[in-house]
Amino acid sequence: MNKHDEQADAAKDELLVSKAKSLFDDSVDSIDAATQSRLNRARQKALAKSRRSGLGIPMQWLPAAGLATAVALAVVMWNGAGDSAIDAEMLQPIATAQVGDFEILMNDDSLDMLQDLEFYSWVEIDEASDIESDVDANVG
């Protein structure tokens, strides 16, 4: 086969491919509505599966996201432990008071005092005022 024949052969090949491509494109443009609708549904299904499998975080970010979460959790726990120490100090008098109240409630001897709380508070105020007047007298 000489060069001229080769060129003619290549031209024929090109013509065939070009005609085939044109017919194919024509058939693609003529795809019916039902097929297009099915393709659309298939595409949406594929995208939904992609969403579900990816969970919104690209795979290459997962180790970084995990590390960030672990660090954040560690910091929160560390700070939380500090706060609980402070809270314990602040809550100690309240706890002691609650234990005191409990002891008073459980002690039968003190029940009379609980019934006359107003009297005892008056006595306490009266004693305080007496002390203040003594101090004033001594100073004066």
Partner: protein, 202 residues
């Protein structure tokens, strides 16, 4: 607590950035699939001569691409998509061969090939004159039959190169073979089609 708040804020920003990236990626994937789906379904239908099965194969290829390769570069999607689709087509032919053997064994002929209704499977008109449409339809039917008669690898190479317009490298990726093999299969396919289609195609 300020450190924790800062880390939380950074995490939120990361998540927001990641969500924006994912949304953009999803939009790109949607656009890609929209561009490729019609040609893909025609290529699959020519390969297996069954429109419904072709649609299923294209759907499976879309799902696999979206699930496994969505994070790859956009320029990689076309060869990957067609590789998945071609694998699906090959599996379909294998299953069909097994099914046909079983049918022959039970003396029941698989009438699927005989039942293929070219008129029913014909695409709808798209605003062209009826005679032109008929002419194109008949020419396409002849071409489809000729392509279908090619060996599988030649058929793949021809459709990916001529119809989908893939270059040799991408066709090689899609077919899972070397570039030299693609050139050989394509060249043989074109020569074979010229012989089959006769003088009126030249």
């Amino acid at each position: 607590m300020s450190t924790a708040a800062a880390i939380f804020a950074v995490s939120c920003t990361d998540v927001r950035t990641s969500e924006a990236g994912t949304l953009q990626q999803e939009q790109e994937l949607n656009r890609f699939l929209q561009e490729v789906e019609k040609r893909a379904v025609r290529i699959a239908a020519i390969s297996i001569r069954d429109q419904d099965e072709a649609l299923d194969l294209v759907q499976n290829a879309m799902i696999k691409l979206a699930q496994k390769y969505a994070d790859r570069g956009i320029d990689e999607w076309t060869p990957l998509f067609y590789r998945i689709l071609q694998n699906g087509v090959r599996d379909w032919h294998r299953r069909q061969a097994v099914r046909n053997r079983v049918m022959v064994f039970f003396r029941r002929e698989s009438a699927e090939e005989d039942n293929y209704d070219a008129i029913a499977a014909a695409p709808d008109p798209a605003g062209r004159a009826p005679d032109e449409q008929l002419q194109n339809y008949e020419a396409m039917q002849t071409l489809e039959l000729a392509i279908h008669g090619l060996p599988a690898r030649q058929r793949e190479a021809f459709m990916l190169r001529a119809f989908e317009g893939l270059n040799v490298a991408d066709t090689a990726t899609a077919m899972g073979c070397g570039e030299g093999s693609v050139k050989t299969h394509y060249s043989r396919a074109v020569h074979s089609l010229r012989e089959r289609l006769g003088e009126h195609w030249q």
